[in-house]
Amino acid sequence: MAKRTRSRWRDLPTAVWMLTPSLVILSVFVLYPLGQAIWLGHQRCDSQGDNCRSNGWDQYVDVARSDEFLHALGVTVKFVVLTVPIGLALGVGLAMLADKYLRGIGVFRAVFSSTVATSVAVASLMWLFLLQPDVGVLANVGFIEELFPVVKQPGLVRDPGTALGAVAASSIWANLGFTFILVTAGLQGIPRDLHEAAVVDGAGGVRRFWDVTLPLLGPTLLFVMIALTSRAFQAYGEMDLLTDGGPRPQDSTTTLTYLTYGGDSVINNNDGLQAATAVLLFAVLLVVSIVQLGAIGRRIHYA
């Protein structure tokens, strides 16, 4: 026992120098800013965002109950609900479609994976050019404009009723490659003899999808769902480039991240309020993560 204790201490100097680089960075740029943000979030600043002073902790309560925060939280949740299920369903559809041994299937797989190469800026600008009402593509193709006047007047990204959907479409498209790659990998992990056994038992294509493919895809789908949910909660570039959180005054696409960091946000330049909003976003994400991780434990049967 004594010998074992001594050997634990013997590794310590090596462990210290090996851990130091990571520990310094993570402490200074993850742990410290989180603590500091929690502290900053309770400080009241004047309208210019200067002269911040401690004044109890009720600023968190005020922010959490403010119309701006609750509106942004609602927009964020709507954005998540719009993007995650549709993105997942489309990804599964593409993966099923390409999951066949056909000549040239590699080309189609490359196409379906391709949006993984688009950054949020690249994808958003491509979609801005599609949707923008003055110079955009849809607004300048005659028959589309006649069928859907909204593309020109006021424009999909400027109509309060369609703006969030337009941003969501851009985001779903940008994440499609990621979802496709992961679901394809999941499909390839399903043993072929399970399908063959189901065929022998007389199960048709639809039956096999629901009773063989989908259950065995469970862990993959859950993983993708968690990743997409986390991305959707943290999405920022799409709103920044496509709508600037607008259209105003409805603020139809002002999500929590846009409220915190957006150039046109009402709390821009007020570090206290920005920090409070960022901390509340963290709290929301923490709750979501806990719920999702709880689901992993109970629902999923690993093959």
Binding site: S7, R8, W9, D11, A15, M18, L19, P21, S22, L23, V24, I25, F29, V30, P33, L34, Q36, A37, L40, L97, K100, L102, F108, V111, S114, V116, A117, V120, A121, V122, A123, L125, M126, L128, F129, L130, Q132, V135, V137, N140, V141, L182, A198, G202, G205, V206, R207, V224, S230, R231, Q234, Y236, T260, Y261, A275, A278, V279, L281, F282, L285
Partner: protein, 281 residues
């Protein structure tokens, strides 16, 4: 189409394949549609963009060249390249070291320390950036490579990923090396790292992609054109030149090409990386 199952053997293979190919082509066209319109726009002269936006006028690289000249894109690409390479290399180094300490070494406080690392995974980037911008500002790092890279030189996710593979190395391997008088650093460099090379490649691709794709942070800590990354630069171009969408679209294409090439070369590592965990900036 008849059911996939029992009819497989008596259906003429030709018709099923034709149907499947037709569907594949249609869906592929839909997926590529935004890319197509972007390319078409970049091939049109300025005053022609609003005419027939679905039909290219011809083939010319003139607009691409103009976007390159006027957009400072070379500089943005260089900045993004430097930032992504520095972050990737540093993350590999710091993660290998900390993962090795957690997986192979035994020391007091290991469990608690590992818990601290894992806890940082729960903190979203957005919760830290308000304060990080102040930190970087007070260090005088606004508009610098330090400001763009230093906050991201370590990753708990990479540490976690590499620890998992280091744990699979047989204990005997380390014991044998120790008997031969090989220290931890020697064992790490000559045995452990070469054995986990595929995981390192996967992690490198994830790090590179997320560093290259960072959007919010570069916008917060750069104000000079010469320090913009591709992503923050594209925002500037789009805001300044929306009246010339063909130039903006050409800029977008130029910005996308390098990462497409990188992904094509390293696609195996990318897929392995994506399936081992999900991170994107």
């Amino acid at each position: 189409m008849p059911g996939d199952g029992t009819t497989t053997y008596d259906t003429p293979i030709g018709w099923r394949a034709v149907g499947r190919y037709g569907l594949l082509v249609l869906v592929a066209a839909l997926v590529l549609f935004p890319v197509y319109t972007t390319v078409v726009a970049a091939l049109k002269e300025g005053n022609q963009v609003l005419n027939n936006p679905l039909v290219p006028d011809g083939f010319t690289l003139r607009i691409l060249a103009k976007a390159w000249d006027e957009g400072n894109l070379g500089r943005y690409l260089l900045n993004s390249g430097v930032v992504a390479v520095v972050i990737t290399a540093a993350q590999l180094l710091t993660s290998v070291l900390s993962a090795y300490a957690f997986a192979i070494l035994d020391f007091p406080g290991r469990t608690i320390m590992f818990g601290v690392f894992l806890a940082t995974l729960l903190v979203p980037l957005e919760a830290t950036l308000v304060v990080n911008r102040r930190t970087v500002d007070s260090l005088g790092w606004i508009n610098s490579y330090q400001g763009l890279t230093v906050p991201f030189l370590a990753t708990a996710f990479g540490t976690f990923l590499l620890r998992q593979v280091f744990l699979t190395l047989p204990r005997d391997l380390r014991d044998a090396a120790a008997i031969d008088g090989v220290g931890h650093l020697g064992f790490l460099r000559h045995v452990a790292v070469p054995l986990v090379r595929p995981t390192l490649g996967a992690m490198a691709m994830l790090s590179f992609l997320s560093a290259w794709n960072q959007y919010l942070w570069p916008n917060l800590v750069t104000t000079e054109s010469d320090m913009y990354t591709v992503q923050s630069g594209l925002k500037q171009i789009s805001e300044a030149r929306l009246d010339e969408p063909n130039l903006v679209m050409a800029g977008t294409i130029i910005a996308a090409i390098p990462i497409v090439v990188v992904l094509l070369i390293f696609q195996r590592s990318l897929i392995r990386g994506l399936t081992s965990g999900a991170v994107k900036g």
